[in-house]
């Protein structure tokens, strides 16, 4: 590798990192607005519609409010851990997105540039590794607050995340079996052509894996109907009860970023990633611009689904949650692995 290659790599990486972080935070602010407007629609009320057209400037007002709020640190709290916890939530949430391809690999300045921050061989594992570190933030926050409700929230969430991570990881193995690779870019490239070539459909017959992945994804991101770590009626606000101002905002943002990453993973693994799903008669930059747009459109659709589910289904009881995870999703995802292995061995899966 020459010096000019190195300089080029560093510049391109920095541009990609900046762009992805900017897009993620934009998605977060739009999603807070969408969440509240859509919940209003579902519950037959207005939601925030005062600030700007349709209430679209509400996220800006919220951001200013978060900055101006007084920051309260409980006197009994374990200070270093208490201050560190919000950062521990946000950093892994941002890291996990690094391996997700949001567009094809294109030729630019005579070099191959993939539309992903990094295009590494173990990309899927990297995303899992990053998201598995996120649970420490919740445990630490719950414990450092020295508050019974916060501690209960932290305990619940760690038990929930361990239980559902199993089903989540196992549901992906089917996709890995039919793709034969752990590289997200290669997994997406295999799903080219018409939309029935996507892994969830005839591309890999992974519809069961997709269902398990989505349900476990709701649990992993602590979203309703699995938002037990912050069940208001029992635990006030769970692990972030004692957090205020920007520290609370960081937990809030990491929840939405995790949600976006989860949706992006589902799109990459099961719904063709940046593939359009139909052939188009042109190529070059109009094509890859359309492909990037297609990726974000799919992610957006799944995010709307996340919100829709949250305001439709009631919260699970704790023992029901554990039963569903261990006796429902875990055997289902195991069955999916077996089924996919048989299909692959019989040669019924498109290579």
């Amino acid at each position: 590798m020459t010096v000019s290659d190195l300089v080029f790599d560093v510049i391109v990486s920095l541009v990609k990192i900046g762009a992805v972080i900017a897009v993620l935070f934009t998605v977060v602010s739009i999603m807070t607005w969408v969440e509240r407007r859509l919940s209003g629609l579902i519950q037959f009320r207005w939601g925030p519609n005062r600030v700007g057209p349709l209430g679209l400037f509400q996220p800006i007002a919220d951001g200013v409010k978060f900055l101006m709020k007084e920051e309260i640190v409980p006197a009994e709290a374990h200070k270093p851990a208490y201050v560190l916890a919000p950062a521990m939530a946000l950093v892994p949430a941002l890291c996990a997105f690094a391996v997700i391809p949001f567009g094809p690999t294109v030729e630019a300045f005579g070099r191959k540039v993939p539309f992903a921050i990094v295009d590494i061989d173990g990309g899927i594992l990297f995303a899992f590794a990053a998201s598995s570190l996120g649970v420490f933030a919740i445990i630490t926050a719950g414990w450092a607050s020295r508050n019974k409700y916060a501690l209960m929230g932290g305990l619940r969430s760690s038990a929930q995340m361990i239980s559902y991570e199993l089903a989540l990881a196992l549901s992906v193995i089917g996709v890995l079996l039919v793709s034969g690779t752990l590289r997200p870019m290669a997994i997406v490239e295999r799903q080219a052509g018409w939309f029935w070539n996507w892994n969830a459909f005839a591309g890999g017959w992974q519809i069961l894996g997709f269902l398990v992945f989505m349900i476990a994804g709701f649990a992993e991101t602590n979203r309703a109907p699995f938002d037990l770590p912050e069940a208001e009626s029992e635990l006030v606000a769970g692990y972030h009860t004692e957090y205020s101002s920007m520290k609370f905002a960081m937990f809030f943002m990491s929840e939405y970023i995790n949600m976006t990453t989860s949706a992006a993973m589902a799109v990459t693994l099961f719904l063709g990633g940046w593939q359009l799903g139909f052939p188009v008669p042109f190529s070059g930059w109009p094509l890859w611009a359309l492909q990037v747009a297609a990726f974000w459109a799919k992610v957006g659709a799944l995010l709307l689904f996340f919100v829709w589910v949250r305001w439709t289904l009631p919260r699970f009881r704790y023992d029901h949650l554990m039963n569903l995870g261990w006796k429902g999703l875990f055997p289902l995802s195991l069955a999916n692995v077996m089924l996919t292995a048989v299909l692959a061995a019989l040669g019924w899966v498109r290579r």
Binding site: I120, D121, L125, F128, S132, F136, T140, G142, I162, E165
Partner: protein, 164 residues
Amino acid sequence: MEAIAFYVLAVLAVASAIVVIVHRNPVMSALALAVNLVTIAGFYLVLRAQFVALLQVIVYAGAILVLIVFVIMLLNLREELKARSPGTFQKWLGPILALVFAVVLGRAMLAHAAPSFPAPVPGFGTAAALGIDLFSRFYYPFEVVSLLLVVAMVGAVLLAKRRL
């Protein structure tokens, strides 16, 4: 480049290991252990073993340590916070064992001073390369280890069942 990464990781690993032992608060010890396990993943990366590095984070930091923290938080913390003085037996045995360990480690290091490894082949350390090795060259050790894990699991279920 690799040397810089190694020394930064080495300082972090040793510092976090010391915190694990010295800190009086078990939860802080566990969090320091998390840092330690992630730096060890960094060592694997420096050695070009990216698959093992990622598994290190997922299995040790992501799963096992979360269980440890879970158990620590379920136990009563106030009891643990009180400084306990170790018994006389521990007080004498600890340093002796540490010394023996240091001698063994030092001898091993001196015996293999500055070993030279062949440059890794392209594709070294990826899931594919590791999988092929595990299911061909190391097939029997791999199967024996998985049998060991099954035995351990059966044992755990048996022990827990007695109290159910």
